[in-house]
């Protein structure tokens, strides 16, 4: 078990290293920062000086080490557009993204998984078919298009909910949260629903196929042959087994939510890191893009690691691996 965790930890480290290499090469080697930073009336001499200033005259591995060294010290550079340290920009916007993503996660899990298990158990009857009809439509509709429809219906037509911005926020632990005010919650509603719909559809489909797979295992029939009641079989044998894939998927979906929040935040003008990323891509604000990618990578590596460890705790076949 400890070996397993150490192994995963080591693999996570490698993953983070490789991703930082890709980002570094992608951003600094494929693209030319000098061209980006220089004006048209600069002379060759000016450009060379800038290159030296940026350390571009040094060998590649040295450049990478500088780059990695700065990151380890928390120095992600200064945004071209905002002229502020990039890390501050991101940290400032992170709570906004996290609160929507987590709210969507909670909605998605608490609706999607019960729906999926129900569909799996009930097989091909009417209830599951209706559910499957809606989930198919749900996951066939691109996120941004759902967002537009939500705005059109709830903000423009009924005028029940605001279509953009974060609304009032209240502080907790020194951070401003929309979760803590009614107005903020109203502003959160549409983005959170937007993110949650897709989650509900995916989670329920995955839970359904997982349930069906387990139902066909021989130990389920054997449990029936033991004379155990149906409810108990579902509570014990089914749920305990299906927990394993669900935990894995949930962990990975947190990453998916953060990724898709780029789309949602853009449509709803929600001031989180996703919107920051897209704005920065459009305005070619490279330090911000690089910092975002590096941080997101680290976060993913961390989530994957946690998921692997949880997985091992839940599955005795891995837990007892020598």
């Amino acid at each position: 078990m400890i070996k397993y965790i150490l192994k995963r930890f080591w693999q996570s480290g490698i993953l983070a290293l490789i991703m930082s290499l890709i980002v570094f090469f992608g951003m600094y080697v494929v693209g030319d920062p000098v061209e980006m930073l220089s004006d048209e009336d600069w002379t060759e001499q000016d450009k060379i000086e800038l290159a030296i200033e940026l350390g571009l005259d040094k060998p590649l591995h040295e450049q990478y080490l500088n780059f990695a060294g700065d990151i380890v010290q928390g120095d992600f550079g200064v945004s071209f557009v905002y002229n502020r340290p990039v890390l501050d920009l991101i940290v400032e916007r992170l709570p906004a993204t996290l609160e929507v993503a987590l709210l969507a996660m909670v909605i998605g899990l608490s609706i999607g998984i019960p729906l999926g298990i129900y569909s799996g158990i009930k097989g091909n009857s009417r209830g599951p078919r209706i559910i499957s009809f809606f989930t198919t439509i749900g996951y066939s509709t691109p996120n941004f298009w759902q967002a537009i429809l939500l705005i059109l219906v709830f903000a423009v037509f009924f005028q029940w909910l605001p279509a953009s911005g974060r609304g009032l926020t209240n502080p907790m632990f020194g951070i401003e949260w929309s979760l803590l005010s009614i107005d903020g919650l109203q502003h959160m509603a549409l983005p959170a629903i937007n993110l949650a719909i897709y989650k509900i559809c995916m989670q329920s489909r995955l839970a359904r196929s997982g349930t069906q797979e387990i139902l066909y295992q021989e130990y389920m029939t054997f449990a029936r042959a033991k004379g155990i009641t149906r409810n108990r079989i579902i509570r014990r044998h089914l749920l305990r087994n299906i927990l394993i894939p669900i935990v894995t998927i949930t962990g990975l979906e947190i990453g998916g939510l953060i990724a898709f929040s780029t789309v949602t935040e853009t449509v709803f003008a929600w001031p989180g890191i996703g919107k920051l990323l897209l704005d920065s891509i459009h305005m070619v604000d490279r330090p911000v893009v690089v910092a975002y990618l590096i941080l997101i990578t680290l976060m993913f590596v961390f989530i994957n690691f946690i998921v692997d460890v949880l997985y091992a705790f839940l599955d005795p076949r891995i837990r007892h691996q020598k």
């Binding site: 192994k7 295992q217 021989e218 054997f222 042959a225 033991k226 004379g227 009641t229 108990r232 005795p316």
Partner: protein
Amino acid sequence: MNKAPLLEIKNLTVTYPQGPQGKDELKALDQIFINLSEGQITGIVGESGAGKSTIGKAILGLLDSPAKLVSGEIRFLGNSLVGLSEAQFESLRGNQIGYIYQNPMTALNPVLTIGEQVMEAIEANTDMSGIKAREYAIQLLERADVSFAEDRLQKYPHQLSGGLCQRIVFAIAIAAKPKLIIADEPTTALDVTVQQSVLQTLIKLSQQEQIAIILITHDIGVIAETCDYVYVLRYGRHVEQNATNKVLQRPTQDYTRSLMASVPLIEKRLHRFALNEEDKLEDTSTGLHYLQEKQTTQDSTNESLLEVRNLSKIFITPSSLLKAKQSFTAVKGVNFTVQRGETVGIVGESGSGKSTIGRMILGLEDITEGSVIYRGKDLKLITDSTERRAHCLSMQCIFQDPYSSLNPRMSAGENITYGLKIHNLIDRNKAKSLAQDLMSLVGLKREDADKLPHAFSGGERQRIGIARSLGYRPDFIFCDEPTSALDVSVQANLLNLLKDLQEQFSLTLLFVSHDLAVIRQMCDRVIVMKEGEALENDSNDNIFEQPKHEYTRSLLDAMPKFQGLAQY
């Protein structure tokens, strides 16, 4: 006896919908009747497709969804079980009737501990709970001959062996002292030496607790050892029923008789199995001619064809950052020779390294140590590529699993001749007729050469595999458990075919099997293997009549005793 029998089945018919629209139906069971009194062990025997397992599932209301109980009566202690609600079945299952599955590893839930699974059966079927249930669980495990019962409660199924898991399944089945246990092939998934003791535990439990058992099996040896009474089924229909020794030794029906004649015996070696074989209708002369063409080139016959010297195989899992290098010795310094025209058998349990030896001879596995001398030459020392290829192609293999030994995307004929065409050993235009010749030689129809493998039965596929190996006109054929996946009557037919072919072409065979009886029937000389070592190497008669090694004796003792048909 004037009270109602324990179990009474009349005219039971179960169907499965068939065909693309599900309009046709297949009768899995057709008018089956069974009577069973208390404490009796009754066998239901039949080959695949006989519908044996369906009976057990029908009794407990566990038929899988497309199957339908169309008609018939099932009475347990006089009460009808047909059409009970799920709740009524729940109070019956475990409580009155226990069930034992073929494969204990899939019957136990992998994420629940043994304790949880035994105790939940106790709690569901008795009024015990908590500490009392736990104590009772330990008792049950001990009764089912599980050692260290208390420690096992905390374990998960994957941490225990198959035999132990099956004993745990027994413990679960007897938890509520049911009147009847349905055991569906309870020992098939286990190793030979374990089978015997697990079976004895089952019989012991039945006698101690006065539990009647329906033992569903394909293994006539198991029936002979355990059952008082036996029913023979074929294609879902009743064939014969009687006291066990009568059915086994003096069967009244043709099918039963040929089934019994198909069972390989351990007592004596027969020339062929006494089957009612139809005469070959097809003309096999062209195929014979093709194969005999080469026989003339043979050199001196008294020299040994194959010599294995000090052969060893060590499997190594390479070390990674956090895992030390692991090695497993599959074969340890094995020596033997095979003479031309001889059949040498290697027998051993799973994991004894018997197949690995063959795979090293064929070049499918690298040799860790030692050498294989074939036709007087060590393959490793042959540098000329043409000679090397000829050397390799003259060694062929008949594989174990008929369902995976043919390329599913090639026709039968293409499977047979593809390699020959690649090496330009035959004219491409003649490939098809050669495939047909070889197919007729192994007892298949010529016109079936164009069919894909899935159109053939298991036994027919093995014949295609044999035809494929014959196509190379081999000097040596390695037979890797060629009949272990087949029904006993199909096995007998195939073994007869191999014997015929060997006589016709004086083939040299190395025959690997876990089944002592098959080895007894097929081989001139036998090597007994355990954990990678060759323990004994002697003539067939010596091994089976005067075994020297203790392990050989224990293997022979573990064989179910079946005397074979009474000769009359």
